[in-house]
């Protein structure tokens, strides 16, 4: 490093930070560079306010595991990435944006539905859905968009089954999800999409009152503790989180493996690696790529900094998942790595409720896809793949493949 570089004032980081051209799997280099000098560093948000970025694995776990950092987005100073993102929580917050005990009360109404043995029992059904989708995708064709024909419908079908939402309505809720998760949506667009989704789910809850089934929405209705509007708010969270995340992990994992042929060859040769490989893909790709927001409610020391009460924090889980102290050589994808300590599902009491389901879906999707399509390859030049830098959940907008 030259003297000039060392003495130059640091370039202020602005969010959302962009990835380097040609490095679509790596987190934003501006943050990586800043974090090298200062693992707890400052950044400027869209509205000119600033917040802290926490980037080390240890610090991210400390912040997300500490109840002095609030997830309540109604608190003044809570950091938002865009005006649209602020609008998402302006109305009725989901338990994702509440603190305990309110958060725990609502979350515990759902934990049984996503527990490991319940989800493991769904394997045959998820496998059947994956096989059906691949049968249809490959029938009489030699190429397709993997997002439209496999990665998106698989988790959408599963979450619809679980919730008791008719899958025939998938165009409706997928389009509203896209608007809610786009960093380009205006607050007006977000509000309209939000209202339409809540209205749809409130109507659904009302219908389950008349005609119950064994889906989650119906059981929440039968419980009698929540109004239909509250069930709709919870349903919205589950519906969006249940399909967007796994869909994007599936497509991006496929691409990452196609771009790392030695890793793919190893996984094909040793299918028993699939569980660990999915953990590694979760770590390496970390699709929640813009940080997990919190607000300090007291002065708290994180690393060598004091974060003051009222200051916002973004936990950069993608950077934490590349922390060399925990994942040596973490910038490389290694399907045989023990990546279980990744924080791709977050950390603390808000850690992803649906993670056992996401794991089962991803294990089945990756294993089935590469087993059934031994010649799977990109159908367009790699440079033409549209990455989702413009979305809250990273991935690819489409993935044209051939086999």
């Amino acid at each position: 490093m030259t003297t000039a570089q060392r003495t130059a004032p640091p370039t202020p980081l602005t969010l959302p930070a962009t990835r380097a051209p040609g490095c679509p799997f790596d987190p934003a280099p501006g943050i990586t560079d800043a974090a090298r000098g200062e693992p707890v560093t400052r950044a400027t948000l869209w509205d000119g306010t600033s917040c802290w970025l926490v980037t080390r694995h240890e610090d991210v776990r400390a912040v997300l595991g500490d109840p002095r950092f609030s997830a309540d987005a109604q608190r003044p100073g809570f950091p938002f990435l865009t005006a649209g993102a602020r609008e998402v929580v302006a109305g009725k917050p989901t338990f994702l944006r509440m603190d305990d005990p309110q958060h725990a009360r609502l979350r515990r109404m759902l934990t049984a539905d996503f527990m490991v043995k319940k989800v493991e029992a769904m394997r045959p059904e998820v496998q059947r859905l994956a096989d059906d989708l691949l049968d249809r995708m490959t029938a009489g064709r030699t190429s397709a968009d993997l997002v439209t024909d496999f990665a998106l419908p698989l988790p959408s079908l599963v979450i619809c089954l679980l919730l008791g939402v008719p899958y025939d309505d998938h165009d409706f809720f997928q389009e509203r999800s896209r608007i809610l998760l786009s960093l380009r949506s205006t607050p007006e667009e977000v509000r309209a999409a939000q209202d339409e989704l809540l209205e749809y789910l409130t109507r659904l809850a009302r219908a389950k009152r008349e005609t119950p089934d064994d889906g989650i929405v119906s059981r929440l209705v039968a419980r009698g503790e929540l109004a239909d509007g509250d069930i709709a708010t919870m349903g919205r969270l589950l519906l969006i989180a249940g399909h967007e995340t796994t869909a994007n992990m599936t497509a991006l994992s496929t691409l990452a493996l196609l771009r790392n042929p030695a890793q793919l060859a190893r996984l094909r040769a040793e299918p028993a690696l699939v569980k660990g490989a999915v953990e590694e893909l979760l770590r390496y790709l970390t699709i929640v790529h813009n940080g997990v927001p919190r607000l300090a409610t007291e002065d708290v020391v994180v690393g060598d900094r004091t974060i003051r009460a009222g200051e916002g924090v973004l936990c950069m889980i993608g950077h934490a998942n590349r922390d060399d102290a925990v994942f040596p050589g973490g910038d490389a994808l290694d399907v045989a790595r023990d990546a279980r300590r990744h924080v791709a599902f977050g950390f603390g009491v808000h850690q992803c409720l649906g993670q056992p389901l996401a794991r089962v879906e991803l294990q089945i999707a990756v294993e089935t896809l590469f087993r059934r399509l031994p010649d799977l390859r990109l159908a367009v030049p790699y440079e033409e793949i549209p990455f989702r830098g413009d979305m809250a959940i990273y991935g690819v907008h489409s993935l044209p493949v051939a086999w």
Partner: protein, 64 residues
């Protein structure tokens, strides 16, 4: 080794069940942690330590 799991702290993420399925389970009614074997054999100690390390709610305590 002696294991304690705090059912109040537990957030039901299930990572302990994946890390050490012979030692941890989840309650039928709400997915909250249950310790199947509070003094597991030595062969399971590494798995238990991993479960404690990845527990998002710091609900698992291990005493040697």
């Amino acid at each position: 080794m002696r294991i304690q799991a705090d059912q109040e702290k537990c957030c039901g993420a299930g990572s302990c069940v994946l890390a050490a399925p012979d030692v941890f389970d989840q309650r039928e009614e709400d997915g909250i942690v249950v310790v199947l074997d509070p003094e597991p054999p030595a062969a399971l100690h590494d798995a238990v330590r991993e479960a404690a390390a990845i527990c998002p709610a710091a609900a698992i305590t291990v005493a040697d």
